[in-house]
Symmetry: C2
Subunit: 153 residues, 2 copies
């Protein structure tokens, strides 16, 4: 298998600037690549629930990271994928700082005649070799991956 | 498990659904709280650089997580904060999966007569006790926090 890396191997640094927006708990983050994401928190924590929370953003990043690896590998394998959804579910510790202790990632791949073995191989390569976010979270949480293949109608 | 229910089942669980958008590398993530974030990657990795990458999102989440802790503690301390910016800088390993090995977080707090000791205490409480994202990344990276206090003009 040739390299299917979806990360930039030349630039090894990343940057973000995060600014408080006002009197609430909303922050506007700008990535080094120049893109913005808002964050907020729940009303019971003083927020307005107007945007994803930072801990939700971590699960979103995990899904995106694994997803980019997997779709890129499946395309190299010439699998005819018409849709791809990732469900990420995290369980947090009850004690501060409430880290994720268990995370499940379910990959649902839709397409025409997509071979389950291809998806299994792509998911394993992402989980074991390529996905930065998964590797970072796996230091403290049990991260498990499952997949389903759905025939396109 | 193919549930598309994106509501939090309990306070200690979080969820995200991430969907491939088209023929490129862009994914649209929806948090359990119902908010969306797009992700993409660099042109050299097959993306269109139209949104932050997953590894950038991790730094944004770290800044937001620490920022929410710190501003909420400073408000409880009755410090008169008029602006607050967090700069997050991450260095990645050169080998796959290119996890962050060192992350620096710089908190720049602007206000009227804000006591440096208050900011120091708030940053330390976030870093050592409250911030989930920082605690998770600190399992594999050296995460350091610095702060600056700027008098409002």
């Amino acid at each position: 298998m040739t390299s299917t890396d979806t990360t930039d191997t030349t630039a090894s640094e990343r940057h973000a600037t995060v600014r408080l927006e006002g009197a609430g708990m909303a922050f506007l983050a700008t990535s080094g690549s120049g893109h913005t994401v808002r964050m907020d928190t729940h009303v019971e924590d003083g927020g307005a629930d107007s945007a994803p929370s930072p801990v939700e953003l971590v699960l979103m990043a995990l899904g995106g990271c694994a997803g980019m690896d997997v779709i890129s590998i499946l395309r190299k394998m010439r699998e005819d994928v018409t849709g791809y959804r990732i469900e990420v579910h995290g369980v947090r510790a009850s004690e501060h700082p409430q880290v994720y202790t268990a995370i499940e990632v379910v990959h649902i791949v839709t397409g025409h005649g997509v071979k389950p073995g291809s998806v299994e191989r792509a998911v394993a390569l992402s989980a074991e070799k390529y996905c930065s976010v998964s590797a970072m979270l796996a230091r403290g949480a049990s991260v498990s991956h499952r997949f389903e293949v759905v025939e396109a109608g």
